[in-house]
Symmetry: C3
Subunit: 504 residues, 3 copies
Amino acid sequence: MIYRRSLSFVVVLLIWPAIVCGETPPLSDATQECLECHAIFHPGIVAGWEKSRHAAITPAEALQAEGLALKVSSKNIPEDLQKVAVGCAECHNLRPEAHGAGTFEHNGYDVHTVVSPDDCRTCHAVEADQYSRNVMAHAYANLVDNTVYNQLEHSILGNRTLEKGQLKTAAPDMATREEACLYCHGTALKVSGTEVRDTDAGELEFPVTEGWPNQGVGRINLDGSKGSCSACHTRHSFSIEVARKPHTCKECHVGPDVPAFKVYSASKHGNIYSSKKQEWDFKAVPWTVGEDFTAPTCATCHVSLLVNTDEEVINERTHEMKNRLSWRSFGLIYAHPQPKSPDTTIIRNKDGLPLPTDLEGGFADKYLLSPEEQAAHTQTMQATCLACHGTSWVEGHFRRYHNTIKRTNAEILTLTDMMREAWQLGFARGLDQGANPFDESVERQWSDAWLFYANNVRFAAAMAGGGDYGVFADGRYHLTQSTIDLHAWLERKKAVEALKAGKQ
Amino acid sequence: MIYRRSLSFVVVLLIWPAIVCGETPPLSDATQECLECHAIFHPGIVAGWEKSRHAAITPAEALQAEGLALKVSSKNIPEDLQKVAVGCAECHNLRPEAHGAGTFEHNGYDVHTVVSPDDCRTCHAVEADQYSRNVMAHAYANLVDNTVYNQLEHSILGNRTLEKGQLKTAAPDMATREEACLYCHGTALKVSGTEVRDTDAGELEFPVTEGWPNQGVGRINLDGSKGSCSACHTRHSFSIEVARKPHTCKECHVGPDVPAFKVYSASKHGNIYSSKKQEWDFKAVPWTVGEDFTAPTCATCHVSLLVNTDEEVINERTHEMKNRLSWRSFGLIYAHPQPKSPDTTIIRNKDGLPLPTDLEGGFADKYLLSPEEQAAHTQTMQATCLACHGTSWVEGHFRRYHNTIKRTNAEILTLTDMMREAWQLGFARGLDQGANPFDESVERQWSDAWLFYANNVRFAAAMAGGGDYGVFADGRYHLTQSTIDLHAWLERKKAVEALKAGKQ
Amino acid sequence: MIYRRSLSFVVVLLIWPAIVCGETPPLSDATQECLECHAIFHPGIVAGWEKSRHAAITPAEALQAEGLALKVSSKNIPEDLQKVAVGCAECHNLRPEAHGAGTFEHNGYDVHTVVSPDDCRTCHAVEADQYSRNVMAHAYANLVDNTVYNQLEHSILGNRTLEKGQLKTAAPDMATREEACLYCHGTALKVSGTEVRDTDAGELEFPVTEGWPNQGVGRINLDGSKGSCSACHTRHSFSIEVARKPHTCKECHVGPDVPAFKVYSASKHGNIYSSKKQEWDFKAVPWTVGEDFTAPTCATCHVSLLVNTDEEVINERTHEMKNRLSWRSFGLIYAHPQPKSPDTTIIRNKDGLPLPTDLEGGFADKYLLSPEEQAAHTQTMQATCLACHGTSWVEGHFRRYHNTIKRTNAEILTLTDMMREAWQLGFARGLDQGANPFDESVERQWSDAWLFYANNVRFAAAMAGGGDYGVFADGRYHLTQSTIDLHAWLERKKAVEALKAGKQ
């Protein structure tokens, strides 16, 4: 639906200078030109930006903040950018060469649609560097370049058809992959050509970008950089408030494979957040425990710069979230120490598979944190806990969590031993038989157990997410049910085989 | 628990005139009389109403709003109603003849308990008309008068008993139906008699209304009208704020059969709503994108009158929600174009069944939107998207959504082909065998796939609800699992039959 | 992570007296000493407390409230406690002898870590007494001392290993129990020794308390008292606002075994709460229906002191929640009248088992509310309903709810009859065979039906939680599916047995 807006153009031209006056910082000429049309065509984008800190302050002013309050970490922001608000052009016209075919001529400017972490790095260099070492930045290749994960994705996303009574699984099409796994992991953007669109401003040519739209955490951008800051710093307000609230993390961490939000919202921490958040300050930098908030959100424990009421640092800001984590407790068959490198494609277990454990639960030690490194990460995390809890509370909590890691791994070992027996006996066809190990009924029963139930139990343990949740909401009840059901299936198969053998 | 309140009566009589003074509009004598007792007996109802716009303004004042701000769409509101606040009597004493046996004498007035859309029409005629063409208004008959849906309801709600080892399913009793399907679809109200109740004001006679209480969207009212405005415009504040917030829709759109709220709350849109809603204006009419809110709620995309910051209309208000929808993606075996008529009982597929598709997935074209009509509806919806997103973003989104419609329909075809084979081979008894097609184990596996999993995938696609949700939360993982499990079951049944045959 | 804070000590010493001046009440010397260190070590705890009513008012001032506004129910609060704010020492240094080995010498004071209901009783005697009669206070023994529940816990929490192809279930370890069932039910605290910790203030000795941390509702405290007020009155603000919001109850009432929060949030009541709570007064005592809130939360119906706008009592405050409940609809095989005693370990059904019903659904009448007592409890609950709903509405609602109790019990009877036949035929091993009745595949199918699905249906009925939720979200669809699936399993087992018999 396109409106005739020739008159509106004039109105906006008259209004913008008025807005620019007063307390708001000056806009660049280029940004003013953008706003003249886009305020009408995309009022939501412009209004979102107008409410942002980017519109309210220049980098030069931001640089005047002292000490821990400093939000802009780059030392060498170009002079011309420092003096104007961070508007449309300051980001979308930045580094046109770097964005290659993504850059197009638009009303006299070289513009690119997809702003990347390397654009944001202009002002936020430390955060961009940290994030590049975060496993999330590598989420695309970590999924796409792992042969075992490929098989899981293939089994989940591929359409099934019947051919002479047999199920055939087609390779998943790209649109499905983009909407499914790559929604969170990120797509690989690629310009495949150009197209002419009939706009209110006449015919204009735009690049056609495969993989767009996407805001996945490991998006491969047209400038070669990895990630999308707007995955968490939601465009176009890029609000620290939104990033610090747990609903942001929920976008990707809500399903039974990674139920962080569900467990949080059932925890004491989540209860306090839900009940009291209206009285908290989500914008303060640094973030003062007790004063600005009285219970942690996801960001508190995993990312934010925290201080006590004396402005002493409790935890440094990090966008490399592994720094506060010792165990990786979801997404794989067994919980295991965090990988050393954010590039997990390099990992090989003792059987040569790109997995951090072998099927018996042994760790691929060489690629994972050592116990000493784990202890250091745990201590970093605990510094935050200790701001509100006594030592005995914190130690008791972690003692239970580590016990749960051990216990759930043991239960999964029992399940996996049965799965391996099924493969060996020919009741199902797994990797050793050259088959996809995730595409038969019994294999899904097995993957339910580690992909969903053991995860849920561990998340509830890690986040003190409540006994009820960890027991009954896809938790311990269902984990042990999986073991019981898989065992019953195996016994029945053996009985049938014995019956057949007896007949022959 | 009944209190003695004879003294309170006097107090209220003294207080009400005081309240009436000042800025609040005059109350009718009848409403004043209602309030004298009911403020004490039902303080929650009265307090809710006191906070409403109905209590704060007369229709005459409301009619002075100009242009898009006008909330009262009727041209011929009776003079006497225009001059007083919209109080108890203005609605509950309206059109006493129309409400038939539902109208009863009460302290000298002809009162009816259940206010209907035809009562609301007195001031809100356009909305009442639109809603009467909304499929929701027809939700009662669309369920109750469809023989196939009847069988699904029967299978889900009917109590099962064992008779000589066989399961017998009783027809569901009315109280269960009212509490289950008809809670949302609406009950058919019917006055079955009268009863005398001992009240604080002495013995009084009231009608006994079967099907009450109910606020279902397709309630059959005692005046013959269909629907319940209070399903969304929650009594007794009838707040536009509440109707515009997604929690209202959640009342009926939350289970795995229609997981709109769950998908929304896991989406970027839902994240922004959850994080920023405290700063939005949910009462503004018209509703300005970017200024009043920065991310859509359910109402934004499906109902509300939207304008840009120049007060240019982005989308007209509609209470006939189909106008912005091209596909119906839930509740039936296959996704299909929206039906043309809100009365879906008239639909017949090629096999003569009252279903919008046949079992092979073919559309009952005659009763469904044509591709051209679908395109027009999509364009209407996209006008809203484009307020915050560029063309390439919006087109990319819809390309993926339409691909997902196609892919999920293809997967369900594979499942349905297996189900049909099972019926043909006598492994289960379906429609062709004169049996309920939803009451055997394997039939429920089949209905799980289309009633829950394919739906979830489509909702996640339609609403950009997140990869994690659409993959793992009753989504693609479980959809393909259904196919795998149903195939394994079919193979096992065939093997057993072959074994039996070999023995004979 | 421990900081050097010798300088900070001095700063705090200077600041605290300043805070004490002005409108805040005087602090005891002991509390001032606590704060000197703990404001730095645990800023979150101190900040939480500073925002509490305990920090803002002395008991003497609190006692000046009149009538229904009085929050402090004890008649004999010690003089010295009355004159100072309720700070650290007022609770943690209270009754040192009573806490036995939990009390330790700390900087010259006798301190205990775990504050108990008998500490809180000092000011809140009536509430402590009520709570001691609440079934929640007995949640530890009610679980741990019931031989049947033990078997359920054992089956859910015990790790399984394979021994010669057979599954063996180990007894669950204590850390797992504490994190799982006892998280909500409460742990039994016990001092097992002492340990020396190296703190900023030098080496200090602390007791080692098994079962810590825990805030379960039936925690067995070191002074022998039962429960943890902070389960709901979250430390260290102990806010009535938090306790009245439904997120508190969600901590333990969210899983499919007791889905109160989920059902609430899908109900009309939950919708209104979610949409309008920002305008309500969650701190007012008494709590005025309509004025302070316009829809109930959990606390409204189950706990709070409610008045109408004339300050007439609608319902008295109770911490013995059974007083407003007639049926116990979750956690056990059949819904049944509430037990008379909060100690449910004394219950014996006709077969001598510690269950409130027998397997045929008959009630253990002697231990349960009589129909007359049930009617009285229902009437108490309905007094709250009637504040916002007419009599016909309320009666209609309860008629459906009671019908649903009957219908779900009937469906569970059919399922249990099949389960008992399976035990009798030797297809599974139950109590009569000296086996755990919850540890085989088919037994879990059976427990799914009553532990999850029948519950969900009843909660949706009790709380008007929506047709969609009660039908499709682990509700009636899944309940009847359980019956169908269990019947199919039983038929298959019989067929196999017949086949085997035919071969012999």
